[in-house]
């Protein structure tokens, strides 16, 4: 049994689908029903590129139970080349190589095992390149 929430978010988590405001051009990730910048309700769906850079980051040493076996791991705020922003765990990267300004590539990965059934949940992570 997959949760409805998980299925609902597949377009964002699997394909990086965002909404671009037709009035002011702001890219919202995840998509929204009203643009927080200009209040327009007209959007076009775009797919973000897999390229971006780190705006800020941290290394998590103490995690909640669901991620406790993965510590230490880095999480970063990424700005994609289109100017969209998102938060992602860093994968396949030496922690010493994570820094503000570093370029990253977004990849499709397993994120967590949800609930007592341990359902595999997928999404995006970032690799420093």
């Amino acid at each position: 049994m997959i949760s409805p929430r998980y299925v609902r978010e597949v377009p964002q988590r699997y394909r990086l689908e965002a909404s671009k405001c037709k009035t002011c051009g702001k890219i919202n990730f995840p998509p929204r029903l009203i643009c927080p910048s200009c209040k327009s309700r007209e959007f076009e769906t775009i797919t973000l590129s897999d390229k971006g850079k780190i705006l800020t980051y941290t290394v998590i040493r103490v995690a909640s139970a669901i991620f406790s076996r993965e510590t230490p791991y880095a999480v970063a705020i990424i700005e994609t080349t289109e100017g969209a922003k998102l938060m992602a765990m860093i994968a396949d990267t030496n922690l010493d190589d994570v820094a503000i300004g570093k370029k990253v590539k977004l990849v499709f990965r397993k994120i967590q095992d949800e609930g007592v059934s341990g359902l595999h949940c997928y999404g995006y992570k970032a690799i420093v390149i």
């Binding site: 800020t56 941290t58 909640s64 938060m87």
Partner: protein, 383 residues
């Protein structure tokens, strides 16, 4: 709108209160406030609590607390705004009295965090579950990201972060209700284990059980109950983006800036008119960022200010977190905003003992939720 006063205060000791339930904690703090104010009834009550549902499995908390406080019929309302729940409950109580709807109102906050819940997971519900927490971030992690950005942009140092904890522990040493009454050094902080780089364990506020309560009434009624009333001269609130990643800046919190602008306007004051402040130091970096966003210091200078003693009780131009702050006093999330108001009350009525700020006439309490998606600011003045 009527002028409103705080006429009584009460709080439990903050800490790991193994032998007290959430009801015990709430009722103990509330009865102390009722007794302290000398009122024989209340007209309504507001209960600030972040997540009694996840911490102890109890929802419908406003009705539970009205019942156990023996206040059965009075309207009781739960106010939730994550870590700002207490401050928001205080503001709702203020509005209830200011509007003329009620006369004697209880504003109380409570949290029971040490009853077996995964506190890190519960606190993380104050962030966006689907796009932040899903990807592994924690609350210390969100503030650590702000710290890294602040250090990158303004050359703020780990020693400056640590100086916040050292100062607040020093203040909390003289607060009998504080969870941690111990002096620490910069080295103690820097040698404590890393929780989320660059934040060490001692950069973080603790997991705490506690309750805090105040009684409000119209200013013109206050003298009927006490000669120690304090006037509320501003009460404001603002909202920001729930997700840190959506912000234009990671080194300034817009909800704080907006709530402060409104508060200064409402009280007709400027930052330099504030004699002392209780600010939301859930992490050392948040005290630095907020002290800048409130206008006490220029952006980027908050870390230098604390290092130079500009926020200490003894030498400071604007003493900050004289109670010990969330860092040393403890952070039972729903109670925190009320406990900040209690510190203002004690300072403004010259009952703060060894923590007393000289010539304290105007104090500010700044309480925020999550990574700053909500903020309430209350300014109180001595009479």
């Amino acid at each position: 709108m009527k002028d409103v006063a705080v006429i009584g205060i009460g709080m439990t000791k903050f800490g790991e209160l193994w032998n007290k339930s959430i009801k015990d904690i709430f009722v103990e703090a509330s009865l102390k406030a009722i007794d302290n104010a000398g009122v024989d009834h209340i007209d309504s009550m507001y209960v600030g609590a972040m997540s009694s549902g996840l911490f102890v499995g109890q929802e419908h908390i406003a009705a539970v607390m009205a019942d156990y406080l023996g206040m059965g019929p009075v309207p009781s309302t739960h106010v939730e705004s994550a870590c700002a729940s207490g401050g928001m409950a205080f503001r709702q109580a203020y509005l209830d009295v200011a509007s003329g709807n009620s006369e004697i109102v209880l504003a109380a906050g409570v949290e029971k965090m040490n009853d077996g819940a995964d506190a890190t997971a519960v606190l993380a519900t104050a962030a966006d579950q689907e796009y932040e927490v899903y990807n592994g971030i924690t609350f210390p992690g969100l503030y650590a990201m702000m710290a890294n950005a602040h250090m990158h942009d303004f050359k703020t140092t780990p020693e400056q972060l640590a100086a916040v904890a050292v100062k607040n522990h020093h203040n909390g040493f003289n607060n009998p209700n504080a969870q941690f009454r111990s002096e620490i050094t910069i080295d103690t902080v820097l040698n404590s284990t890393l929780v989320a780089d660059p934040l060490h364990l001692l950069d973080c506020s603790p997991v705490t059980d506690g309750g805090a309560a105040v009684i409000l009434c119209p200013l013109d009624m206050a003298k009927n109950f006490t000669d120690k009333a304090v006037k509320i001269i501003a009460s404001t609130q603002a909202s920001g983006t729930i997700s840190l990643y959506e912000r234009e800046s990671f080194t300034s919190i817009k909800a704080v800036v907006k709530a402060a602008e409104k508060a200064y306007k409402q009280a007709n004051l400027k930052p330099s008119d504030i004699d002392f402040a209780e600010v939301h130091d859930c992490f050392t970096i948040s005290e630095i960022i907020v002290s800048e966003d409130l206008g006490f210091f220029n952006k980027g200078k908050g870390g230098f200010a604390v290092q130079e003693g500009k926020t200490s009780i003894e030498t400071g131009e604007i003493p900050i977190n004289t109670s010990g702050g969330l860092k040393s006093k403890g952070h039972p999330v729903g109670a925190t905003g009320i406990a900040q108001v209690i510190e203002l009350y004690e300072q403004l009525t010259e009952q703060a003992g060894k923590r007393q700020v000289k010539n304290a006439h105007i104090g500010m309490a700044q309480n925020m939720g999550g990574s700053g998606a909500s903020c309430t600011i209350n300014i109180l003045e001595a009479l």
